[in-house]
Amino acid sequence: MFPKVKEYSMMVKKQSPPSPKLKDFIWAFIVGGLICVIGQLLFEFFGMLNMSQKAIKMAVPSTLVFFAALLTGIGWFDKIAKRAGAGTLVPITGFANAVVSPAVEFKSEGWILGLGANMFKIAGPVIVYGTVASVVYGIIYYLVSLF
């Protein structure tokens, strides 16, 4: 009668069109690169304002995060990200979007249990495993530096 699970998964694979990888790569490269260029321009701009190096390093990501959050709020970010993929996901803009989008979405369930509880639904795992990874890195670094 029906094909076995393995055979059916082959049939499904054959019928399912793959993601347009080359197109996705090019978009991600261009948009991701553009965001970095904007970051560099901001760096130069803040430099012209005679800000200290330390302050500039804080100001550049803050500005990028601000605009990513703003674009998420007005509903543009997902339209750009739909094409850009990793181009908008990988820079700090992706993190801002991952925090702001559930915040916008879950406001309908209230400020505390809705927005507050769900804000880190997507970004939460990044923070958890980012912290874990940095601890592991720290231990390795320490061990290596012993010799």
Binding site: M1, F2, P3, V5, Y8, S9, M11, V12, Q15, S16, P17, P18, S19, P20, D24, T72, G73, G75, F77, D78, I80, A81, K82, A84, G85, T88, L89, G94, N97, A98, V100, S101, P102, V104, E105, F106, S108, I122
Partner: protein, 336 residues
């Protein structure tokens, strides 16, 4: 009285008919190829409500009211309503219909709910248990996205096999009648699971269930695809439809020349960026209660098979790595 023939099929003998029907959709559906056929649409995705869940409830209520109005009835004339949707605990239906004062039967059949409700409504009317029953279901892109996937504004990419949840609702009013399209037979499907785990490929998960129900129906009734004007599936989309052809061809059944899918009818796949097609309870509900019924009225359709298809998974089962069980319920709608 209804009687069972063969393994699964139930033949109804008292002509439970679709005497009234109504459909409501959102903007994207209205912009689609059959946009003009829907009774009402709204540019506002919240339909004037505060939340998407409330919007979905509004959709369902509007669909029922429209369907009743079209056959000159009020809520008081309805003995029983069969309703369901995709939201947790089916709040789209219960909150949408709570003010109507109609005896309420809540259903969950995922995207197969339209034909599930329609079959049950037809059976109760056929048996004489009730005179008038209503079947209704809905889905909303935004409420489904937030329940099953990511927040709306989250910047993610959809795979080419993903389908677009239809924002829409459709309601059918069922009564015994002599000159309206009637439900001649129903065939409840069994749960089929061929191990698809990709929640972005629902068509593939549902195709085996659709194939099984069709095979049972053809064998029970000793009919073949050519005996029907059209065979319409719920929301298999482009990927699922092709898999359905292949599964049926292994049994020497060819439905290509007769088949269409609501998910492919409601959207223009080339222009509307919906990837593999439309999906959701509202997909088959809104297409049945507009496009299909209009063609019965114009005489283009006289004898059709209509089968909504559902994927019976939840966000929890998907995260736990479970495969996606599919279901498909079929109705044979005829007019003499």
């Amino acid at each position: 009285m209804a009687k069972k023939i063969g393994n699964r099929t139930i033949i109804l003998e008292n002509r439970p008919s679709i005497v009234g029907y109504g459909s409501v959709v959102g903007k994207k559906e209205h912009d689609g190829p059959i946009g003009d056929e829907f009774d009402t649409y709204n540019d506002d995705s919240r339909f004037g409500e505060k939340s998407y869940e409330k919007a979905e409830s509004r959709l369902q209520k509007t669909a029922v009211e429209t369907a009743l109005k079209k056959c000159d009835k009020t809520e008081k004339d309805v003995d029983c309503i069969f309703a369901g949707d995709l939201l947790n605990q089916c709040i789209g239906s219960s909150f949408g219909l709570r003010s109507l004062g109609i005896p309420f039967v809540g259903l969950y059949g995922a995207c197969s709910t339209m034909t599930l409700g329609l079959s049950l409504a037809a059976l109760t009317v056929d048996s004489g248990a009730v005179n008038t029953a209503v079947a209704v279901t809905s889905s909303h892109f935004c409420s489904a996205e937030r329940q099953y996937r990511f927040p709306l504004e989250y910047g993610s990419q959809r795979t080419p096999t993903a389908q677009w949840t239809v924002t829409g609702s459709g309601a059918s009013v069922i009564e015994r009648s002599e000159n309206k399209p009637y439900i001649n037979a129903v065939c409840f499907g069994e749960i089929e699971d061929l191990g698809v785990t990709d929640a972005n490929n629902m068509g593939a998960a549902m195709a085996p269930a659709a194939a099984a129900t069709l095979m049972h129906y053809f064998s029970d009734t000793k009919t073949k695809p050519e005996d029907y004007d059209i065979i319409i599936t719920g929301d298999l989309g482009s990927v699922g439809s092709n898999l359905l052809y292949q599964l049926l061809e292994r049994q020497n059944i060819d439905i290509r020349c007769r088949h269409n899918d609501c998910g492919l009818i409601i959207f223009d796949l080339k222009k509307q960026d919906v990837h593999a097609g439309g999906s959701g309870c509202g997909c088959s509900a809104s297409v049945l209660n507009s496009f299909v019924m209009h063609r019965f009225e114009s005489g283009d359709f006289k004898n059709i098979l209509f089968m909504s298809t559902g994927a019976l998974m939840s966000p929890t089962s998907t995260m736990q790595g479970e495969s996606i069980p599919g279901i498909a319920h079929l109705v044979n709608i005829k007019i003499d």
